[in-house]
Amino acid sequence: MTPRLRLRGIGKRYGDLAANDDIHLEVAAGEIHAVLGENGAGKSTLMKIIYGVTQPDQGTIEWEGTEVTIASPAQARSLGIGMVFQHFALFETLTVAENIALALDEDLKPAVLAARINEVSHRYGLPIDPERLTHGMSVGERQRVEIVRCLLQSPRLLIMDEPTSVLTPQAVRALFDTLRRLSDEGLSILYISHKLDEIRELCSRATVLRGGRVTGTAAPATETNASLARLMVGGELKECTLTPREPGEVRLQIQSLSLPTDDPFGTRLVDINLSVRSGEIVGIAGVSGNGQKELLAAISGEQPGREPAAIRIDGRDAGTLGPAQRRRLGLRFVPEERLGRGTVPSLSLADNCLLTGEAAGLLRRGVVHRAAARLFARETIREFGVRCDGELSAAQSLSGGNLQKFIVGREIRLAPRVLLVAQPTWGVDVNAALGVRQSLIDLRNAGCAVLVVSEDLDELFSICDRLAVIAHGALTEALPTAQLATETIGLWMTASAPHA
């Protein structure tokens, strides 16, 4: 049988870098085919070639037995190729339906379109309201819009780039059911991921990329995580270990914190109570858009409150203080947005150390100590294995994973009493993610209080001593991770709004 898509010897160079080199790939009709690889392995380039965003330098593409040149995404869509991107380009001031209408190649009456959106979103368990403005939507919600948009075009090949990273376990189940149903209906799916469990469960075949080349193909169901990881990283994958440890005194205490929101799509925080002790990692799970953004800003001081005792850092009232003052009490914060919040994109890594580096003596008596900042940045780069062109390279020139290592490293090297981390390993490759998680564990072992807010449940389970769930702006009690099942957390995550 002719495969739906066949790539032969695809190559693509950017300057000296071979992003793709002699790649062969076959996807059969109705097959769910995994493309597995670390960040920088060439997955994105390959997908861009298939979706017509870039052209290969070498090799041929066959679509249902005919050789084709895919010159643009529009042509890819007309062939029947759809793609759900990892980063979503939505117009903030438009509704879901309007955004989808803009991306569709056909003209549909608004009423018809809304009905079809409802139908698709209902059928595949992706709840979205077509009338809602995308402004203020969480990343998870935006992804649902993307998936629905693609499905509306009835594609024959669907490319999904890390689709589960923002879903609850139940939603992942539902999505998998959807994908299996779609594949039974004859849709081929290219499933890009680095989550080995998911790939083993869902995909019938996997093509593994490393350094732009195919390092192997496998039937994931018959492989182990370790054998897949070997293909992917070319070595053994280390696991993080969290040795039990008796926590010390309370370092971060949140008491009856309630915060209204100015943002019409923001989430009101309702009576939040939480304490984090020295030497423990507490995790906060939840589907994005349930108050994580607001809670993080309230703790970091970017959105100070009115009640001094609502937030206590290291035994001192901090509820009304700003970020710089809280930093002086020993709080450090790694925000979700690495570019434009955790760093200034156009400034060098050294200059970006000046943002938070007062404690390291980088700013003294109102004067910037550039040499000290360069040294600090250089040591951070070395200590945390940040791949970059030296401490003078601009923050925006680093890959997401490397920039994250740099920010985490910067904050850790500023000797935190309390460390607050949002989405520590979002979009970070496997090895780098391990490195970041291990640094958090080392910090905990050294007696720091660590609070991690993440949508990646596997991650939370692997590094947290205790876990709480945030839903509709309310936080559950934080219970020891060992006593919690993934399903329980999932149920809490989807709990209905409390009557407040």
């Binding site: 970091s300 434009g340 919040r341 994109p345 156009s346 400034l347 000046l354 943002l355 004067v367």
Partner: protein
């Protein structure tokens, strides 16, 4: 960023900002301005080469002319240095002309009415009053912005006209020189507070030295101080500034007060220098021209020093063209406007480039 097609060319974003274009954009804009100016003079029926001589060469053939160049560059440099510090923080003070006027009023007021009591302190007190006057005028948009989130662009601009009318009221009314034969001007400032020419036969005074010194100070402020760094970060990335805990209000206040203070200083230097008296009009638009100077100088103190000399040359060339060629006064404004226009166009090419569209390109 998408690319736009202007067949057979296409404008597309660069992978990274172009360094050569960053340096070349201002000289290229100046060159384009000269070409357009040449064409316009030709169109007006002038002998363009001769007119260019009158415009760009003759004013500087004498020592006096060079002195005038430095003299007129002084207020432009002072105003632009303060404005640029604010623009880097995304605080858009375009009312330097008004702050200049208030600085002149406040400083002259001290010299006129407190001169007798302050004695030898009059001169420093006068300069300080000039700075504070400019700051006070800039504080109004800062206050309204931080309290009610009003646009500092409109408030600072509208305050220019209020300042000019206030000056007019003073010199027509309460501050008019009783012995001045009803001319709308104040008493002349006492010689002891006037700036004397640095060089015999010119009018250039110590103001230019102060401006150059301040340019160095602003350079240091922008590159080496925590406050300068905070201003820059709040302009580049407001969320990062908030994350770091840099106060947004603080940035707005600092940016406005720097701009106002420098414009006020420029104002009092102008009265204590070439004018020597308060009169209804004390500036040929230095405060507005300084906005162009700040941008042509790419918001960098060194660039501003050079750009203020260029702008000053345009003023002088315009004057000599009026006198010798009977060209209208607006020819200066024409050159200034074209310069800004081409500068903005050239800046586009720092982040974008033009490419030929080839057949088969998407």
């Amino acid at each position: 960023m998408r690319s736009a097609v202007f067949w057979p060319l296409r404008l597309e974003p660069r992978a990274r900002p172009s360094r050569p274009m960053r340096v070349l954009s201002s000289p290229l804009a100046a060159l384009a301005m000269l070409l357009v100016g040449f064409a316009v003079l030709k169109f007006l029926g002038q002998d363009a080469v001769a007119a260019f001589r009158v415009f760009f060469v003759e004013p500087f053939t004498s020592l006096y002319g060079v002195g005038e160049l430095l003299l007129k560059a002084t207020p432009l440099m002072l105003c632009a240095l303060g404005l640029a510090a604010g623009y880097r923080a995304n605080v858009w003070n375009i009312g330097a002309e008004g702050q200049f006027t208030l600085g002149a009023i406040a400083g002259s007021g001290v010299a006129l009415f407190l001169g007798g009591e302050l004695g030898s302190l009059t001169f420093p007190a006068m300069l300080l009053a000039g700075v504070l006057g400019g700051m006070a005028w800039a504080a109004i948009p800062a206050l309204l912005r931080t309290l009610f989130n009003t646009s500092e662009i409109f408030v600072s601009l509208m305050l220019v006209y209020i300042a000019q009318l206030f000056l007019s009221f003073l010199v027509h009314g309460p501050w008019r020189d009783p012995a001045g034969q009803n001319f709308p001007q104040s008493k002349a400032l006492d010689d002891s507070v006037l700036l004397q020419p640095l060089i015999e036969g010119t009018r250039v005074n110590a103001g230019i030295l102060v401006a150059l010194g301040l340019a160095l100070l602003f350079w240091w402020f922008g590159s080496a101080t925590a406050a300068g760094f905070r201003l820059r970060v709040s302009g580049l990335s407001p969320l990062a500034a908030r994350y770091a805990g840099f106060s947004q209000r603080g940035s707005i206040w600092l940016a406005m007060l720097l701009g106002g203070g420098m414009a006020g200083l420029a104002g009092i230097f102008e009265v204590a220098g070439p004018i020597g008296v308060l009169q209804p009009v004390i500036s040929p638009g230095y405060g507005f021209a300084a906005i162009i100077v700040a941008f042509v100088g790419r918001l960098h103190p060194l660039g501003i020093v050079l750009a203020s000399l260029l702008m000053s040359a345009l003023y002088l060339g315009g004057e000599s063209a009026q006198i010798e060629l009977q060209l209208p006064a607006s020819v200066t404004g024409l050159f200034q406007g074209t310069l800004l226009f081409f500068l903005l166009a050239a800046e586009l090419f720092i982040h974008f480039r033009l490419r030929r569209v080839r057949q088969g390109d998407p």
